[in-house]
């Protein structure tokens, strides 16, 4: 393995010694490029004596695997497992070094295990991905500005649409549970770190390794298939498709690891006294999301493995003439694909449910219903996938049953609305940016949800499937509820994560530009969809001209609004006013720790005596009785537990 490992085979050194400690993003890139090049050279040399597409797929895939492994070696990801295998565990000094102690800004560019560093890294990765996806969206809308602009041309257009979809989906999957799930959740539950800090860093750096792979698709002939990558079109696609499937394989591994880590953290590391009915709803939402991802993404990964074997080794999984079936792909894809949309939306809405009580100054309305709703959605969401395949003909007799399960989801989802509306009811509504996001969600998600109900109706879906109506539906949910919720969460936790105050005025301006632009864009898209414009077309009949023009104008408005947001975030992060530790008067634990947050979060671990929604109920610590609170005498707890400083914790 890496030379670094050999040097560190020796007994642990004092802080600062050893090549291992000099690994960072730069060495990772170098490692990736070197191994990628070696892999390319060897495979090219030994395989590419023919011009046949299979060989070039092999070369591309092998190169990418080389890149990914080289990158992970270069960042130091394999050091822990390697030393564990040799029976030479890391020392306490190693662990604190890895946690990023006393390393200043450099710790953000390393394999750092502190969950707060990982959270910030996730945030930056998310924003980069969103910016890429947003730029691609602007290209789509520019192409569609008139019926025949030919701004991109059909080939590029198809690729741009697919990349936009995939980049955005990946970005939105990680946008809440990555930054806030890692940074906020452990503090929120009163822990000093995640359950598996090293796996945490691993999940983040795997995504970083996957990004260049994903973007390289654009230069390898693109992906002609859209984000769903349907076979057999993807069988005959150029090597860009290998980049696509490799990205998803890496991403699936990353999210299984992240999911196991976050779920375990929440299951086993909540503070003393934080019973399930005192656990903040955002923690529930996070756990539901990552927990749902655990079984979902491996199925996507399996679809990608089969596709990869088809493309590189000539297997016949999706080739009908040899007994394969495109329906196999579609099933595997959507068994992941539908749960995934809830993976995206649940934590975003849960963040908004965390926000609503704070700014309405009222307890969360019907906490139990909120939890039940989340559980219900998770349970149902694995039984509805075939509503994406009503028109595929794979099993017409099952359309009815799938319509049933699909429509049932509206009951738990509706409960979430009741919870939010009930929380606002007669509150002292303080309309800060996070609170505005709650309102925007109430507007957008109703529209997105109800248009989903139209689509769940089998005959209506026969008419609307594959049209822009579907596209408008899912932007209303993904963006109107998902991304909006993430922006609300960012505005809410910004003071805690950066120690500074988000620029208020710019925040408001951006909010209104984005929300108005968003509604204009996608209401226009509903209209052309109803009128019969198919999805994924680069030019269209003149009938759809007006609607598309309106959409494009709306999209530009979103774009401007997002730039304002970006400006607000970047400038406030650098020069914003220093924030106090609890600027919103919230009651969850993360607001009890000082700014900047110490490495181990809590000097002394807290014991929870009430749920964090006791607004308007007086102070349970003073009166001794909160809702369901068991007062605990200070100083009577068991010995502390900490999560840093063990050497048993490895692999």
């Amino acid at each position: 393995m890496s030379e670094a490992v050999v040097q560190h085979g020796a007994v642990a050194r004092p802080v600062g010694g050893g090549a291992m400690r000099r690994l960072h993003l730069g060495t990772a890139l170098a490692g990736g490029l070197i191994l990628g090049f070696v892999a390319w050279y060897l495979s090219h040399h030994f395989l590419a004596d023919t011009d046949d597409p299979e060989a070039s797929n092999q070369v591309t895939s092998i190169t990418m695997v080389g890149w990914a492994i080289g990158f992970m070696i270069g960042i130091g990801a394999f050091r822990g497992p390697w030393r564990w295998m040799l029976g030479k565990d890391q020392t306490h000094e190693d662990e604190t070094f890895y946690a990023g102690k006393d390393q200043g800004i450099g710790r953000y560019f390393r394999f750092t295990t502190d969950h707060k560093v990982v959270g910030i890294q996730y945030l930056v990765v998310t924003m980069v991905l969103l910016a890429v996806g947003g730029t691609l969206a602007m290209m789509i809308r520019t192409d569609l500005i008139t019926k025949d602009s030919r701004f991109l041309g059909p080939q590029t257009y198809n690729s741009v649409v697919g990349l936009h979809g995939l980049v955005m989906i990946i970005a939105t999957i990680i946008m809440v549970t990555g930054p806030f799930g890692n940074f906020i959740v452990p503090i929120m539950i009163g822990a000093r770190d995640m359950a598996f800090p090293r796996l945490n860093a691993l999940s983040l750096w795997l995504i970083v390794a996957a990004i260049p792979v994903l973007l390289s698709a654009g230069f390898l002939g693109g992906i002609p298939t859209g984000w769903s990558g349907y076979a057999p079109l993807s069988d005959q696609a150029p090597p860009g498709m290998d980049a696509y499937l490799m990205t998803i394989i890496i991403f699936a591994i990353s999210s299984a690891i992240a999911g196991a880590n976050i779920t375990t953290t929440i299951l086993t590391m909540r503070a003393r006294g934080m019973t399930w009915n005192r656990t903040p709803i955002f923690v529930w939402g996070t756990m539901a999301s990552v927990g749902l991802a655990i079984p979902a993404f491996p199925m996507f990964m399996s679809a990608m493995v089969l596709l990869g074997v088809d493309r590189t080794a000539g297997a016949q999984f999706f080739v009908a003439s040899a007994g394969g079936s495109p329906w196999l792909y579609a099933n595997l894809f959507w068994i992941m694909g539908h749960p995934e949309v809830y993976v995206i939306v649940i934590p975003a809405v849960a963040a908004l449910m965390e926000i609503a009580p704070v700014f309405a100054r009222k307890p969360l309305f019907n906490y139990n219903a909120a939890v039940l709703a989340i559980v219900g959605i998770v349970g149902l969401s694995i039984m509805v996938w075939a509503h994406h395949m009503y028109a595929s003909g794979w099993a017409p007799d099952l359309n009815g049953p799938f319509m049933l399960t699909t429509e049932l989801i509206s009951i738990p989802t509706g409960l979430l609305f009741l919870v939010v509306v009930g929380t606002i009811w007669r509150g002292r509504v303080w309309t800060t940016l996070p609170m505005l996001a709650v309102y925007a969600m109430l507007w957008n998600f109703i529209i997105g949800g109800i248009t989903g109900i139209y689509l769940s109706d089998v005959p209506a879906d026969y008419a609307l499937h594959g049209s822009m109506f579907v596209t408008a539906h899912f932007h209303y949910t993904l963006m109107g509820a998902g991304l909006t919720g993430a922006i609300g969460a960012l505005a809410y936790w910004f003071p805690k994560m950066t120690g500074r105050t988000l620029h208020k005025r710019a925040g408001f301006i951006s909010f209104w530009l984005v929300q108005i632009g968003f509604n204009v864009t996608f209401i226009g898209m509903f209209a052309v969809g109803l009128a019969g414009q198919p999805r994924r077309v680069e030019h269209y009949a003149s009938l759809f001209g007006v609607g598309n023009f309106v959409s494009t104008m709306g999209a530009y408005t979103i774009g401007i609004g997002m730039l304002v947001l970006l400006y607000a975030v970047v400038s406030s992060w650098r020069h914003g006013a220093i924030a106090i530790s609890n600027p919103w008067g919230s009651k969850t634990l993360e607001w009890t720790v000082p700014n900047p947050i110490p490495l181990e979060n809590f000097e002394v671990l807290p014991v929870v005596i009430a749920d964090p929604y006791g607004y308007g109920e007086g102070d349970p610590a003073l009166t001794g009785v909160g809702a369901g609170a068991t007062p605990v005498t200070v100083g009577s707890g068991p010995p502390e537990r900490t999560s840093v400083g063990s050497d048993g914790e490895s692999t």
Partner: protein
């Protein structure tokens, strides 16, 4: 609790300012949304088959059914912004009322959304049966549809295997399409008739319809199938039985 006590509570509740305010906004919104309910079917255009008519009715009915639900959410949101808003830059000094839950409200909400859901489901199942009916008609015309990158081919096995890249259909006669593909997945869509079914390589799928309006309608491919997916369009001509027979004969077939 006695009836009169219940009545008192209801009256007290009704006396409250927010109840009336929200009710007013809700009424306005509901009426507006119900009126809006007719917009989708209008945009979808005049239907060319009973199937499409059923779909457009569904859009209208679902919008109307959803109107009061959406309206209540939005009405409360709007009212809270108008009346319950805390103005200023500081944390509100006073908290709101500590309402943790409300049994009746939750029950009503759950019951209503379940009823709504049941209605949607029953409606959908009935509609699904209805639109499948032409498939079993005795006098159905059978047409084989083949998609390939990026053209449609229609052949009429009962008419001496007439082949065409334009679809001709006799008015008011049930048609059954057997749809397949030669390469990748396509999706056969007659827009104004509201039918769609994927064309899969190696499989034959089926859909059916009764065209009930004369005219020329749009056939589009609804599944991304590569470079010229956007151009994979053709027309469906619905003509009188006589004209249909003439067309078949002119193309070397027999009726």
């Amino acid at each position: 609790m006695s009836t009169s006590q219940l009545g008192d509570r209801a009256r007290g509740w009704w006396q409250r300012r927010e109840t009336r305010g929200i009710f007013a906004i809700w009424t306005v919104l509901t009426i507006a949304l119900i009126a809006f309910g007719f917009v989708p079917s209008h945009i979808m255009g005049p239907p060319a088959s009973p199937t499409m008519r059923a779909v457009e009715d569904t859009m209208t009915i679902f919008t109307i059914a959803a109107a009061p639900v959406a309206a209540i959410v939005w009405a409360i949101a709007l009212y809270s912004l108008l009346r319950w808003r805390h103005r200023g830059d500081e944390i509100p000094t006073q908290d709101g009322p500590a309402i943790r839950s409300n049994g009746p409200a939750t029950t009503v909400w759950l019951v209503l959304s379940s009823i709504l859901c049941a209605f949607l489901l029953i409606w959908g199942l009935a509609e699904e049966t209805a639109v499948a009916r032409p498939a079993t008609a005795a006098n159905a015309l059978v047409i084989n549809v083949t998609g390939q990158q990026w053209v449609w081919t229609f052949s009429y096995p009962g008419q001496g295997n007439v082949e065409s890249d334009q679809l001709y259909l006799p008015l008011n006669r049930p048609v059954v399409f057997h749809v397949t593909s030669k390469d990748v997945i396509h999706s056969f869509w007659i827009v104004q008739m509201g039918i769609k079914i994927d064309a899969n390589p190696g499989e034959s799928t089926e859909t059916s319809v009764i065209p009930d309006r004369l005219g020329v309608f749009d056939i589009r491919c609804a599944e991304l199938c590569g470079l010229l997916h956007a151009d994979m369009e053709t027309s469906a001509h619905v003509v009188n039985a006589d004209d249909f027979a003439r067309w078949v004969n002119a193309n070397g077939g027999h009726v």
